[in-house]
């Protein structure tokens, strides 16, 4: 397994390099950031000075080379508009995004697995059909609309929850998070539910499909015949066997929630990484865009690795090794 992990990490470096080229070419193609950044009152000489100050006068390959050289020592560049290191900006925003993604994943699991189990075990009941219909609604609603409706209903009309923003930050065991204060929890509910709904729907459907398939397997029949209680059949034999697809999807979902909660973060003015990246794109803040995308690639690589390792833990038949073609 160690060999597997080491080899995977080495492949990751290659992926990162390839990605950096693609990202660099991509942001270069969008346009010249100076025209966005510069004050309209600035004259031609000031424009030329700004281009030089930001290192945009160098040819593309040279800019890329400078980037690589700095990246090798952990410096992914300095934001044009914040005048701070891009990585610092990203790490500064990370806790907000992580707590939102974490809450959303936990919520979608708490809601998704039990409902999915129920729908899988009793597929013909009205409740099950209701759950399945509801799950279709769950992932077909556009997040931005759904988010605005949540704000309208729970913040504007009922006044129960704050409309936008992140609440007070508390600290627990040295970790700082808004999840540790009442005000913070009040703020996180709406955006987290908004993110969780679509995922919960997906988990319901996956769980149900898994359960339906597993129930027909011989080992379940055997367990039943042995006279095991149905709680044990479902809780141990069924649940354990549907975990593999669930872990895959949840892993990717976590990565997706962290990287691309852009819509929810902007609607709820949640100061996370998604909002940072969208602001950076609008302002063509190249260093932040590049650093962010590199971080996200790394994140996906790591989560995929964790998912692979988890497989082998959950299912002893899985051996981690490279596929030789």
């Amino acid at each position: 397994m160690t060999v597997f992990i080491v080899r995977r990490l080495m492949q990751s470096v290659v992926i990162l390099l390839v990605m950096s080229v693609i990202v660099f070419l991509g942001v270069f193609a969008i346009g010249n950031p100076v025209d966005i950044l510069i004050s309209p009152d600035a004259d031609q000489l000031e424009r030329e000075r700004a281009i030089r100050a930001l290192g945009l006068d160098l040819p593309l390959w040279e800019q890329y080379f400078v980037f690589l050289k700095n990246a090798a020592v952990g410096d992914l560049g300095r934001s044009f508009v914040f005048n701070e290191p891009a990585l610092r900006l990203i790490f500064e925003r990370m806790p907000a995004t992580l707590e939102l993604a974490f809450t959303a994943v936990v919520l979608s699991l708490i809601v998704g697995i039990p409902l999915g189990l129920y729908a899988g075990l009793r597929p013909q009941t009205v409740t099950s059909k209701g759950i399945m219909a509801g799950s279709i609604v769950g992932f077909s609603l556009p997040t931005f609309w759904q988010g605005l409706m949540f704000i309208m209903v729970f913040a504007v009309m009922l006044g129960w929850l704050p409309s936008t923003g992140r609440g007070q930050i508390g600290s627990f065991l040295g970790i700082k998070s808004s999840l540790f204060t009442q005000d913070g929890l009040a703020h996180v509910i709406l955006p987290a539910v908004n993110l969780a709904l679509g995922n919960a729907a997906l988990i319901i459907r996956l769980t149900r499909a898994g359960v339906r398939e597993t129930l027909l397997q011989d080992y379940v029949k055997f367990a039943r015949a042995k006279g095991l209680s149905s709680r044990r059949v479902v809780g141990v034999h069924v649940l354990k066997n549907i975990l593999i697809p669930l872990v895959t999807v949840v892993g990717l979902e976590i990565a997706g929630l962290i990287a691309f909660a852009v819509v929810t973060e902007s609607i709820f003015a949640w100061p996370g990484m998604g909002k940072l990246i969208i602001d950076s794109i609008n302002q063509l803040d190249r260093p932040v865009m590049v650093a962010y995308l590199m971080m996200i690639v790394l994140l996906f690589i790591i989560i995929n690795l964790i998912v692979d390792v988890l497989y082998s833990v959950i299912d002893p038949r899985v051996r981690l090794q490279d596929v030789k073609g």
Binding site: P33, I36, A42, N83, V156, G165, A269, N282
Partner: protein, 524 residues
């Protein structure tokens, strides 16, 4: 069961509601529509950053809500001879760290502006006319220039004065608040980048102290979310109310609105330079052999074909003012003789026929779709209006991030842009948009159509040398008339900015579109 559920719901709501907490009477929460990226007042000449900095730092000369120049940290300014300005500073002003404000702080600020590293847009554009700043005594400064420079007071209203202690402080030190020592009505108390900026009243402020002890600016860039935050009572004020929501908010008994005509002109720029221009074709789609925009009659026809009242009424929901020149008439240097061009499709058709295009032509109109109020819809409407005079107009709208560079590189033929006059007079607009493009003198730097008219250049150059205000105003008006009558650009409308407030609060809207907490007051 339903009752039990409802009780739980209410209890939950009450508990969470309490947590959100009613704000104290002296607190104000404001939602801003644009990102504030830095608290360093000298790092990036950018409207949202400047608007926040105005709470903490003062300029030597300040602008009132109509951009008239008023006393700031300077109590008087006068030109002496052809190359000197004498600035008398306000006595008795203290920085928030307790030190006295003197001429040394001004010199330090000018020095820091030229030094601040990595600036994507430096404030040197406002200090470059100052060749030397000489301290005569602690409260008197002599600013030396090359030749007469009447715009000095306007420039002095555009850069902030910091404490000399921060002269070598990097941007990070301002963002950490340690170097952010100012003389303004507020001081920073907390900064969560990308989320909020919290200000605390400066109890030692030299002028009238503002009503609010603590002000929280929240950055809510999504317009719908900003409106929702106001409706939910999470904030008491928002800026940049979307035009579609204005009617709804007007009818809401708990809210009130403040509006002000801005210094921002929305106009069409045209390619005056090239002999053939890429986006003009005949009706069959073949490129035209010569650039029709070089013919005054074509430019006039395109302008006459636009129903400006219609755009204001239908697209802008009444929230803009039809434009006939570079700035609304109330501003300095405007002409009394330039009403908005009348909608006249028949006259436009005739002009096109006279110019040799009796059947019109095809054109692609370009514009941004996320920069100005309803910009994407404005260009669609203009294109439809043009089709009535036989011009087949296609529309291509794109995000500002990709649009700006293309517009600057002259990749379009006719395209929509906006211009806000930071100095509140037409000199800014004339020299940027209509003066002949010249890298060395810095004239026409935003003249993306490369309009060039020696007569206008001459009058404008004279205006920029004339220190006497009345005389300069007349010359600027004259230059505006030359440029507009020659249709150097096609003015469409002046934007009107709208703020939404909780009932009982008042705000005098500002032409510069800034949102200033010290100007928010409880209605008496």
């Amino acid at each position: 069961m339903t009752i039990a559920k409802r009780t739980v719901g209410v209890a939950l709501g009450a508990a969470l509601g309490l947590a959100a907490g009613p704000a104290a009477a002296q607190d104000l929460a404001v939602a801003l529509g644009a990102s504030v990226t830095s608290l360093d007042p000298h790092f990036h000449a950018l409207a949202p950053n400047n608007s926040i900095a105005q709470h903490v730092f003062n300029n030597l000369v300040e602008q009132d809500e109509n951009q008239k120049l008023i006393q700031g940290l300077a109590v008087s300014w006068s030109a002496r001879g052809d190359d000197k300005w004498i600035i008398k500073l306000r006595p008795g002003v203290k920085f928030t760290d307790g030190s006295d404000f003197t001429a040394e702080d001004v010199v330090a600020s000018i020095k820091r502006i030229a030094w601040v590293p990595n600036s994507p847009s430096a404030f040197t554009i406002y200090t470059k006319a100052i060749k030397e700043a000489v301290i005569v005594d602690p409260l008197t400064l002599e600013l030396r220039t090359d030749g007469p420079y009447p715009l000095m007071p306007n420039d002095l209203s555009n850069f902030f004065i910091i404490s000399k202690k921060s002269v070598e402080a990097p941007t990070e030190d301002f963002n950490r608040l340690t170097a952010a020592i100012g003389t303004g009505p507020y001081k920073y108390s907390d900064y969560a980048r990308g989320d909020r900026i919290v200000l605390e009243r400066n109890e030692g402020y030299w002028d009238t102290k503002p009503e609010w002890k603590k002000v929280t600016f929240r950055l809510i860039t999504n317009p719908a979310a900003r409106v929702a935050a106001l409706l939910a009572g999470d904030v008491q004020m928002i800026e940049a109310v979307p035009t579609a929501d204005i009617e709804k908010l007007k009818r809401n008994p708990n809210l009130s609105l403040a509006q002000a005509a801005s210094n921002r002109l929305i106009y069409l720029h045209m390619d005056h330079q090239r002999d053939t221009t890429p986006f003009f074709t005949d009706k069959a789609g073949k490129p035209l052999a010569k650039n029709p925009l070089k013919d005054l009659r074509v430019r006039q026809a395109l302008s006459k074909a636009i129903n400006r009242d219609g755009i204001v009424e239908r697209v802008m929901e009444g929230v803009s003012v039809p434009a006939g020149q570079l700035l609304a008439e109330s501003f300095f240097g405007t002409s009394k003789n330039l009403p908005p061009e009348k909608y006249d499709p028949d006259g436009a058709k005739k002009l096109l026929a006279d110019a040799g295009y009796p059947n019109g032509f095809g054109v692609t109109l370009h514009g941004p779709n996320d920069r100005y109020i309803n910009d994407g819809r404005v260009i669609q409407t203009v294109a439809q209006m043009w089709s009535r005079i036989g011009v087949d107009a296609k529309v291509e709208a794109m995000p500002w991030a990709t649009y700006a560079a293309k517009a600057t590189n002259q990749e379009f033929s006719i395209f929509l842009v906006g211009w806000g006059s930071g100095t509140g007079e037409t000199s800014s607009t004339l020299r940027s948009l209509l003066a002949t493009f010249n890298r060395e003198t810095g004239m026409g730097q935003a003249n993306r159509g490369r309009y060039s008219n020696p007569e206008l250049d001459k009058v404008l150059a004279e205006a920029l040398r004339t220190v006497n205000s009345a005389k300069r105003g007349e010359l600027l008006a004259q230059a505006s008339e030359i440029g507009i009558r020659d249709v150097g650009v096609i003015p469409l409308h002046y934007e009107v900015s709208t703020w939404g407030l909780k009932k009982g609060l008042t705000y005098v809207g500002r032409a510069g579109q800034e949102t200033l907490a010290m100007e928010v007051r409880t209605a008496k």
